[in-house]
Symmetry: C2
Amino acid sequence: MAKGREALPKLPAGTWAILGLLTFGEQSGYDLKKLVDASVGHFFSPAKSQIYSELRRLVQLRYAREREIAQTDRPDKRNYTITPAGETALRRWLDESPLEEDSFKSPFLVKVFFGRYMDRDRLIEQVREYRDRSAAELAELEALEPTLRGQPFAAFPYLTLRAGLSSCRHSIRWCDEVLRALQEEVMT
Amino acid sequence: MAKGREALPKLPAGTWAILGLLTFGEQSGYDLKKLVDASVGHFFSPAKSQIYSELRRLVQLRYAREREIAQTDRPDKRNYTITPAGETALRRWLDESPLEEDSFKSPFLVKVFFGRYMDRDRLIEQVREYRDRSAAELAELEALEPTLRGQPFAAFPYLTLRAGLSSCRHSIRWCDEVLRALQEEVMT
DNA sequence: TTCGAACTAGTCCAAATCGAACTAGTTCGA
DNA sequence: TCGAACTAGTTCGATTTGGACTAGTTCGAA
């Protein structure tokens, strides 16, 4: 009896993330895109073309099942459900897979790094814009916070929300620090 | 007279980053890989295969020049230098290009998000591991800090270093917060 | 002293990911 | 009633990643 102890297929983390979101209930690729943006979007944002191809793969693997829905008022669609096999595979991935490295890339920080080649005012402008974006993201997260706080079913998502809040706040403070440094003519 | 006002070719930020690093002096792809890891590595880390292909592209564009170096003790190599055209293009990209979005993906946060499906002890282990990695990165950056601080030629890189320090510290604090929450059995 | 590990310098390729355009119909507000 | 936004998805090229492979050299430990 292999007791379900077959090797887990090695899949990119994004595939597992999509599978995880299917635990929220039956959904179309279109729904999933919106769900991603409203939940894990701050640390995992696949292009929608990727969402659709992951869904095809999950069906291949029998981790998800597909169901055609004909609609008259709207375009037809396909809904996806996670299978029991999918659920156990998800749990195993969560428990057993070694931690992959985060990946962070910031074209903005690249610019700051080469800031000595920039026009000073342009640089200040861009730091301000970056600051504004961080502030907007922070506002979004802050709006979400009270709806998740204290909800027992949302305890884990809430932890990731806290990470986002903290990261936005740090980013804003750093921008202010930089703007101060750029205004004092200490910098060459 | 077009006064050098031709349109800048639209290139991914990574191409410009490599070009920027060529302002540090003549280098091979191999050197560049090490320079990346020691400088912009925390917010831009291309695979080495990408470094080599960017270099080819920069030569195509005449933003860099290539020079073969025959060696006896080591494998032969090719060194790259930035051209004057490359320098002005770099400055123009820095000043003129609109700010692209950062991209952050964290398989770890995906796991935390779905933490309710995890074995509690496994989750705690993984948070500890993540914390350790952040602490190691912080130590690296802290070791770098005194060598850059106050160096006028390193003023801008120093700003990005501050961002890294702050981000590592925030990350560690967040992990501690999470570990506390997981130990108090408040979580389901 | 000699074996293996790490360093130097790069290539090749498949897979993963992104992003923009395109299709095509519907609803909704000005 | 016109255009914008929403629903639902496909296609394709370009980017980016990571791992395997080549091939020689140096350096430390057994």
